[in-house]
């Protein structure tokens, strides 16, 4: 099973390198949206932590939706039939989960670097915030992968993916924003443990539901 997952991942990355315009378009999306924020906050720049954190996560949310929504669209119809004979649904969905996770990690770190370069940095406890970015990327990818598989069933309807994913992703985003606000001060495990455990719990629920439901969704 694991070798098959890696085979699909390898194939996905090869496609990604061959069609690098998709990869760069997401990067450009991030950069241009941050630049719009930068211009609109002139001349003072962002002054409060609340603005910084909320705009930061909103940019990550929108760019990850556009990044993830193509992960199933780039598979052509014939290739899906081929997968149907070769793979089990679990193998396919786990490879997509890992692939989306890596992609969103790239998006979050790119956003963080450019955001703190242009708009200043409010983060005090760095190591905690970086691990929060990793956990956040994991949660967002867990949340969006099944939704993008649902959106794939509805032909060329990328707006539907964003409509369907907003309400589902809001609890995760609330937790991430709350935890990021905490990371602007000195790190203390007592402050974060409730929210952090809840985030882990939500991830477990999401992965379990994705694994169970994708099998039903995929079979035609």
């Amino acid at each position: 099973m694991i070798s098959k997952i890696f085979a699909i991942l390898y194939k996905d990355f090869k496609i990604e390198i061959n069609q690098s315009h998709l990869f760069f378009s997401v990067g450009l999306y991030v950069i241009s949206s941050i630049y719009i924020i930068y211009i609109s906050y002139q001349p003072t720049g962002i002054l409060s932590l609340e603005h910084w954190v909320s705009i930061f996560w909103v940019i990550i949310l929108f760019s990850s939706i556009s990044a993830v929504s193509k992960s199933f669209f780039q598979e052509s119809g014939n290739r899906n039939y081929y997968y149907y004979y070769v793979l089990s649904p679990d193998e396919l969905i786990f490879s997509k989960l890992i692939y989306n996770f890596l992609f969103i990690v790239f998006v979050t770190f790119l956003t963080f670097i450019i955001f703190s370069f242009l708009l200043g940095n409010f983060i005090y406890s760095f190591s905690f915030f970086l691990s929060l970015l990793l956990v956040g990327a994991l949660s967002i990818s867990n949340c969006l992968t099944l939704i993008s598989a649902i959106g794939h069933q509805v032909k060329n309807n990328s707006i539907l993916i964003s409509v369907l994913s907003f309400p589902v992703i809001i609890p995760i985003l609330l937790l991430l924003i709350r935890l990021s606000k905490i990371s602007s001060s000195e790190f203390s495990w007592n402050l974060i443990q409730d929210d952090f455990y809840l985030l882990i719990l939500l991830n477990i629920i999401l992965v379990a539901m994705t694994k169970i439901l994708f099998g039903y969704l995929w079979r035609n």
Binding site: L146, V154, V163, L164, P167, L201, L213
Partner: protein, 215 residues
């Protein structure tokens, strides 16, 4: 079904009369608005109950592929959302008299609003697919997935933060209802009565849907 109807009529008649006429505890700020407990809270109980039935039926559909369960699931979701909207409206009227505003940024309010958004997304998804069996499959999968996120949203997240809403600290108001037997006498029948009403409406809608589908 007949017993549910009889129970519903009896209990709701009792709720409507006793809810307005019976003695209630006098509390500052709340005063007579405490009676909204009989009409606002049961709406949410009913909504959660109906949405639970909806997602159970959605799961039954994806495991059996019987289109009947998909119709049932859609029906329950529809009626459940009606009750959710009524719950928000009754809550807003109450909030206007006690908090002085119709809407505030409160975890419970946000949770319920987002919960309704999830089901509006579900209806949009259903309407955007033409093919019947595909519509049933995709929307059932989304319904089960979304319901599994609704539970932490409504039941866990609000408990982790301070809330203005009665029931978890802050406002002394409805913590009393845990103790006060006067309120309980009307509150429990009201919950059961409204759940029966929800089941009744869903039953009528289901019959209507079956007739229109046949034609």
């Amino acid at each position: 079904m007949r017993y549910i109807k009889i129970l519903c009529v009896l209990l709701l008649t009792f709720t409507a009369t006793a809810g307005i006429l019976f003695e209630v505890p006098r509390l500052p700020i709340l005063n007579e608005t405490i009676r909204v407990l009989y009409f606002h809270v049961p709406m949410w109980f009913t909504m959660i109950f109906l949405l639970l039935l909806s997602s159970v039926n959605a799961y039954r559909f994806i495991s059996t592929k019987n289109i009947k369960y998909d119709l049932i699931s859609y029906n329950y979701a529809h009626v459940g959302v009606y009750f959710g909207v009524l719950g928000i409206l009754t809550g807003m009227v109450w909030a206007n008299y006690t908090w002085g505003t119709f809407w505030t940024n409160d975890p419970k309010l946000n949770g319920s609003a987002i919960g309704l958004l999830i089901y509006f997304g579900y209806f949009i998804l259903r309407n955007s697919i033409e093919d019947e069996s595909k519509k049933a499959k995709v929307s059932s999968v989304y319904s089960v997935f979304a319901f599994s996120m609704l539970i932490p949203l409504i039941f866990i997240l609000p408990r982790l933060t301070d809330s203005l809403h009665p029931g978890n600290g802050g406002n002394p108001g409805f913590n009393v209802y845990d103790l006060n037997s006067q309120l309980r006498i009307v509150f429990y029948p009201a919950v059961i009565g409204f759940i029966c009403l929800g089941l009744w409406i869903a039953d009528v809608k289901h019959k209507l849907l079956k007739i229109t589908n046949k034609r």
